[in-house]
């Protein structure tokens, strides 16, 4: 644990030193065309298949298409490769995807969702961290163990129970909460959630920033990114479920509904 502690300290210093962002082009022109066209064809074919494989193909095709359109490859980014000419982007508000974990051996994901509730309501619900399993379906239970600490339990691979402790780093009432984890969680190692009022009373923009440790080295990270953008999915679905609970009072589901035979 001691080494984890010291690593976390060093994160703080590197937190703002991101040098790559989503809008950065790292794919060359010819490759972009290739990605765009083959992605489009794959997506169109996937959609017409009208089955789950088709949905997967459509998803993969869309990702390729996006790669062509944007000129940004997450895999290249993870592997620190660029086939594009240098073209810095200074647009404000574009999230940094480089993690706070030194040596680029981690991945930061940032996702936002606008929720039709006040920042105060949302902050209060999130701060009551024992409610986390309600909107984080990959967490079994959370128990508060102190003023700033909590104990987390989740299912790991091979049905193994994994436990860890989380500690609050910084809390700004009605504005943001950040934390880090001691141990090896099934989720992010550090995280931050912030609540910013949207213009004209249009609810609150909830932004979730998660830093994940990954396999050592760029190659491992690339593979991690390829299998389904798991950290991105986790950040997005956490936010989506949080939003549903805060707005609708429940998370929409069809689990347990009636169906005909033949369903898995």
């Amino acid at each position: 644990m001691a080494s984890a502690q010291s690593t976390i300290k060093s994160y703080q210093n590197t937190y703002t030193q991101g040098d790559q962002n989503v809008a950065t082009r790292n794919v060359g022109q010819a490759e972009r065309w290739l990605s765009g066209i083959s992605g489009g064809v794959l997506a169109a074919y996937g959609i017409t298949r009208r089955d789950w494989l088709g949905s997967g193909l459509a998803l993969a095709g869309s990702a390729l298409f996006y790669r062509g359109l944007s000129g940004h490859s997450f895999l290249y980014q993870a592997m620190n490769i660029s086939t594009a000419e240098q073209q810095p982007n200074f647009a404000p508000g574009i999230p940094k995807t480089v993690s706070s974990i030194p040596g680029k051996r981690g991945v930061r994901v940032q996702r936002s969702m606008t929720v039709n509730r006040s920042a105060e309501d949302l902050y209060n619900y999130w701060y009551d961290i024992e409610k986390a399993p309600l909107y984080m379906d990959y967490i079994d239970s959370v128990m508060r163990t102190g003023e700033r600490t909590s104990h987390w339990v989740a299912q790991g691979p091979m049905n193994k129970t994994i436990e860890w402790n989380s500690e609050l780093l910084q809390v700004v009432p009605n504005k943001s909460i950040s934390w880090h984890v001691h141990g090896k969680p099934t989720t992010a190692n550090t995280g931050k959630v912030s609540f910013d009022p949207a213009p004209d009373g249009r609810g609150t923009i909830v932004t979730l920033e998660l830093d994940f440790h990954q396999f050592q080295g760029a190659f491992g990270t690339g593979i991690g990114n390829l299998i389904g953008h798991i950290p991105e999915r986790q950040a997005l679905e956490t936010l989506r479920h949080f939003k549903s609970i805060m707005e609708a009072g429940e998370i929409p589901t069809i689990k347990g509904q009636s169906t005909g035979e033949g369903r898995k």
Binding site: A44, Y45, I47, T48, R49, R50, D51, W52, G54, S55, A58, L59, S62, T114, N116, R202, G203, R233, L236, E237, R240, K243, S244, E247, A248, G249, E250, I251, P252, T253, I254, K255, G256, Q257, S258, T259, G260, E261, G262, R263
Partner: protein, 389 residues
């Protein structure tokens, strides 16, 4: 209970399935007394809507009696007679609060799937594929109704099922299609497709002040219904230049608004329609937008093209240049049913319209596959099938 289940393209049958139960606090269970087959169900039957799964229960037009409510539902009780809107909406998100109910943020459990295909996810729908949430539908004896505290509308005594059933979808859908045309005094509205939605669009256009409604189809019984019930001027599109006919009928100006109540399986006799069919059959294309092309071409300058007909994927050779050059407005999307329930129920109660005029067939739920069959092939002059569980 019995339910009509989907097992693949052109494969539907009535099966015994488990009864639905309350899953979320805002759920209710409705014992269905009447349900209908919608033209958009044919897109599922024909396999044009992606992400269907074997065993999915179809049907999104239904009504019945509340038999159970979750603890979050306070406005309904056992025994209430209700019509259920086909869009599932939470009532509390940005979209619901702005009356854009079919764009609800919180009712699609598979929002990620819809986002991957469409960028963002719209509301969940009953029995309309897993892109729209995968909810079990209402061509069954019972249905689970999520967010029952904001969806179903209670029906006063004295109205028959047949009079109010279509509040669930096709009456509001036809009405919204007409409302989307922003009809001004003196306007002429052209309606492609005289199926049930087209019939309601025709009558709604008159309710909203249209001077003339011109209806286009090829089936005599549908044209007859549009002319007799809807008081529309009608013509058969087969073998004629539709755009030219409309131009001549409107003094050379063109219809002020065009409603495509056909959607992605449109039929035509021209070269582009044959090409669409070939591409759809060989999976080179997803939708057949033949009617949409005509509507864009026929619409007057600065007019509106309103699309209640469903589209699912990518559209080929849509004359966007014409749309741009003429400064057209496009309005489309799934119906914001909740918004129209009370006002349209009032119109029915006031005797302004009796929606039961579209019904041509009533049969038992057990006969639903036969109903699909005659509806699809327009056999026996079939326009609308109502099923009784």
């Amino acid at each position: 209970m019995k339910a009509l289940c989907w097992y693949g393209t052109h494969k539907v049958r009535v099966d015994n399935v488990p009864d639905p139960k309350i899953i979320n606090p805002r759920d209710a269970i409705v014992k269905i007394t009447s349900t209908a087959i919608c033209g958009s169900d044919l897109h599922l039957l024909d396999g044009y809507i992606p992400a269907m799964e074997k065993g999915d229960i179809l049907g999104h037009e239904f009504m019945g009696e509340v038999v159970e409510v979750g603890k979050g539902v306070e406005n309904l009780k056992k025994g209430d007679r209700v019509v259920v809107p086909f869009t599932i909406s939470c009532g509390r998100c940005f979209y619901c609060q702005r009356e854009m109910w079919s764009l609800c943020d919180n009712s699609n459990p598979n929002a990620w799937l819809a986002e991957s295909l469409y960028g963002y996810s719209a509301a969940g729908l009953y029995g309309y594929s897993h892109i729209y949430g995968g909810y079990a539908g209402g061509q069954a004896e019972y249905a689970r109704v999520p967010f029952a505290d904001v969806g179903p509308i209670k029906i006063p005594d004295g109205l028959t099922d047949e009079q109010v059933l279509f509040l669930s979808d096709i009456f509001p859908t036809g009405y919204m299609a007409a409302e989307n045309c922003d009809i001004q005094p003196g306007d002429t509205v052209a309606v492609w497709g005289c199926g049930p939605v087209g019939q309601f669009a025709i009558q709604s256009a008159y309710m909203l002040g249209a001077e003339r409604v011109i209806a286009i189809d090829r089936f005599p019984e549908r044209l007859r219904m549009a002319a007799e019930q809807g008081k529309a001027e009608v013509f058969n599109y087969e073998g004629v230049d539709v755009v030219e006919v409309l131009k001549q009928m409107t003094g050379g100006r063109g219809p002020d608004a065009c409603i495509d109540s056909v959607g992605l399986e449109s039929h035509g006799t021209s070269l582009d329609a044959i090409n669409d069919t070939a591409k759809q059959k060989t999976r080179l294309g997803t939708d057949r937008p033949h009617v949409l092309r005509q509507a864009i071409q026929a619409c007057r300058k600065g007019g509106t093209v309103s699309l209640p007909g469903v589209y699912g994927g990518f559209l080929d050779k849509v004359p966007f240049g014409a749309a741009f050059a003429k400064g057209l407005t496009f309005k489309m999307g799934q119906t914001h049913v909740h918004k129209y329930l009370q006002p349209l129920l009032n119109r029915i109660q006031d005797g302004e319209i009796d929606p039961s005029f579209v019904i041509t067939h009533t049969m038992k739920l057990d006969d639903a596959p036969h109903g699909y069959d005659i509806f699809k092939h327009k056999e026996d002059n079939c326009i609308k099938v109502v099923l009784k569980p």
